[in-house]
């Protein structure tokens, strides 16, 4: 992080053209990060209709799991990452089986219950003392490449590549595979899905597990940029929520577009006004879209039922 902020500093002070380029490139990367983080949340909440507000906690859980496996059990990073993704998926499935299954359908209870679990996990980490500068994840490869006149480190390139790959993969998954189509079916009209032989409870559980695994993948890609901090959990949840709501629950293209809108808005406010205002952008975005178009930019479902 130190090297990158020095690079940004240097480039900002050596000309406005460079400033534009930096904003464009880092804005793009920021948007891909937001999209990556939001895709998992979109899979459960948007596409399958199951509220999982423990998403931020699962993200942080994955990060700390990798850290513990790498630093205290001394596993190689790749193995630790793989295990952590599987483990987070299992935790998501357990969360579904123990908590969500009993309150399925009552959305408010789902929200409160999963938010409670997420809060418990995050505060447990904070209590156990997982705060400090030694909690970092190693990046995939060190080094930086030159794009135009700005340096971009390899980790960010990995993020963009993986982000694009996951977005495309998810689109195909939800439109062309049986499981993905089942996810969409149970959100659209559960009774019809049941009558077609789709086990809606099991599918909802699978979607929570997949969404959690995606959160873990996002964590492994994004967290090496800095230290793992518990407050990131809340920020990730809010960013994911903002992107999904602005984009429209259930539509992957909408999520991508919203990620770019919010990502660039955040970058521009960061450059113009300072880092404090970055978080406010996502919150204001949620507020504005809920007032103007609650179903989101590309949202198709439930447009009539949202407003009175």
């Amino acid at each position: 992080m130190g090297k990158n902020s020095q690079v940004i500093f240097h480039t900002i002070f050596t000309g406005e053209r460079l400033l534009l380029e930096v904003t464009l490139i880092y804005g793009f990367i920021n948007s891909v990060i937001l999209a990556l983080v939001a895709l998992g949340f979109n899979l459960t909440f948007g596409i399958s209709g199951v509220s999982n507000f423990a998403y931020g906690a699962l993200y942080i859980l994955a990060g700390y799991t990798v850290w513990i496996l790498v630093n205290q059990v001394s596993m190689p990073f790749a193995v630790a990452a793989f295990l952590s993704v599987i483990a987070t998926g299992i935790v998501g499935a357990l969360l579904y089986r123990l908590v969500l299954l009993r309150v399925r359908g009552q959305i408010i209870s789902e929200v409160i219950a999963t938010f409670g679990v997420g809060l418990a996990i995050l505060e447990l980490f904070r209590f156990m003392g997982f705060t400090g500068f030694e909690y970092t994840l190693p990046p995939f490869s060190d080094g930086a490449i030159l794009i135009g006149n700005t340096y971009v480190d390899h980790q960010r390139i990995w993020i963009v590549v993986a982000g694009i790959g996951i977005a495309v993969g998810l689109y195909f998954f939800t439109h062309h595979t049986k499981v993905g189509l089942a996810f969409r079916g149970i959100a659209q009209e559960e009774k019809t899905a049941l009558s077609l032989g789709i086990n809606s409870d099991f599918m909802a559980g699978l979607s929570v597990a997949f969404g959690s695994a995606l959160a873990a993948v996002a964590a492994i890609l994004v967290l090496p940029r800095g230290t793992i901090s518990v407050n990131d959990g809340y920020e990730v949840l809010i960013n994911a929520m903002a992107v999904c709501i602005v984009g429209g629950l259930g539509s992957t293209p909408g999520v991508i577009l919203a990620a770019f809108l919010i990502g660039y808005a955040q970058m521009i406010t960061d450059v113009l006004s300072g880092p404090h205002w970055k978080m406010i952008v996502s919150l204001v975005a949620i507020f504005v879209i809920l007032v103007v178009k609650p179903s989101g930019l590309f949202g198709k479902q439930k447009e009539l039922e949202e407003r009175i």
């Binding site: 309150v103 409670g116 505060e123 205002w277 919150l283 039922e305």
Partner: protein, 335 residues
């Protein structure tokens, strides 16, 4: 094999105590009169018996009881707010600002802050009143965080240090009894309100808002009124705490003030205000007793919340009420 089922029948004394027949004997009258009298006696007597530290806990409990009851009221209208901290924080800052910058006396700042905080919160949430269910909850979740960030970023109203050296309430007995009186007034007031015609209309808004619209009633206006009542009570709590601790800062928008009322209401029993009251009297002293373990408290509230909402959603008060009014027995199923 003969099968059994559980049968639930109203107790004889409940049937005898319906309506005017309660006046037939002292037993019936006591059956009806004793339950409401318990919180009144409790709140009147406890401040006299508790040592100084636990008196502060008592005030805190009453404040959280007020927040929980106002949350419950909003849920009865159909809006689940995950951000009571918004009302609390706005009231706290309103009274802090009125005190710090305008130097108004305490007996003026608290009521003014309650109304001002209520107005501001309602104005803020006005655009999202049109949205149902989950969207309202999401917005109430993020707005307190937004305020926290704005105060941190702009540094207004004291910024991260907050406003200090505000006026205290003064007399310890006043501190204790005013809030106890407010909690009791809210408890009985809400219960009375929800059985009146107005309360029935509010409950109808929750059950089927289009039916209420079809009856030519303006649901937005009703929802706004309900939100204003809840927000004012939350703001009163915030203003009270500000003057109690003579400080207001960013922690006024803390997540704790949102989660604990919800946990109290869920544990005690949603829908009945006595449940929220009971829940806060269980959870807040419990959390004070567990103060030694620091951050683990939030974990424990959260776990309580999850366990109760998944396994025991009816809450303690509903259970107690059922036991008090009905008895159960096993009977054989007739073929």
């Amino acid at each position: 094999m003969a099968q059994k089922r559980k049968e639930r029948i109203d107790r004889g004394i409940k049937v005898r105590a319906e309506d005017i027949f309660a006046l037939t004997s002292y037993r019936e009258m006591l059956y009806i009169a004793v339950p409401p009298a318990i919180p009144v006696v409790l709140l009147a007597v406890l401040p006299l018996l508790l040592p100084a530290y636990w008196q502060k806990v008592f005030i805190s409990t009453a404040i959280f009881a007020l927040l929980a009851m106002s949350w419950d009221f909003l849920v009865s209208v159909g809006m689940v707010s995950l951000g009571q901290a918004l009302f609390f924080g706005l009231g706290a800052y309103a009274s802090g600002v009125l005190d710090h910058y305008f130097k108004l006396p305490v007996w003026l700042t608290i009521p003014l802050a309650a109304i001002l905080g209520g107005l501001l919160s309602t104005l803020f949430l006005l655009p999202v009143l049109r949205l149902r269910g989950i969207y309202f909850s999401m917005v109430t979740l993020v707005v307190p965080l937004m305020f926290e960030r704005i105060i941190e970023a702009t540094g207004i109203f004291g910024g991260t240090e907050g406003l200090t050296r505000l006026q205290p309430i003064g007399n310890t007995w006043l501190e204790l009894y005013i809030v106890a009186l407010a909690a009791l007034a809210a408890l009985f007031g809400f219960r009375r309100l929800m059985t009146s015609d107005y309360g029935l209309v509010l409950k109808a808004v929750r059950d089927n808002d289009r039916a209420v619209m079809g009856a030519a009633l303006n649901i937005y206006w009703l929802k706004t009124q309900a939100l204003f009542i809840t927000a004012s009570i939350g703001a009163f709590c915030g203003a009270y705490m500000t003057h109690l601790y003579m400080f207001v800062g960013m922690p006024a928008f803390a997540l704790d003030y949102s989660i604990l009322p919800i946990a109290s209401a869920v544990v005690g029993g949603m829908g009945t205000f006595a449940g929220s009251f009971l829940g806060s009297f269980i959870l807040v002293p419990l959390s004070e007793a567990l103060r030694g373990i620091g951050g683990l408290r939030t974990v424990i509230y959260a776990m309580f919340l999850v366990v109760f909402i998944v396994a025991l959603p009816e809450g303690i008060f509903h259970y107690v009420q059922r036991k008090y009014q009905q008895f159960e027995r096993w009977v054989y199923v007739e073929k």
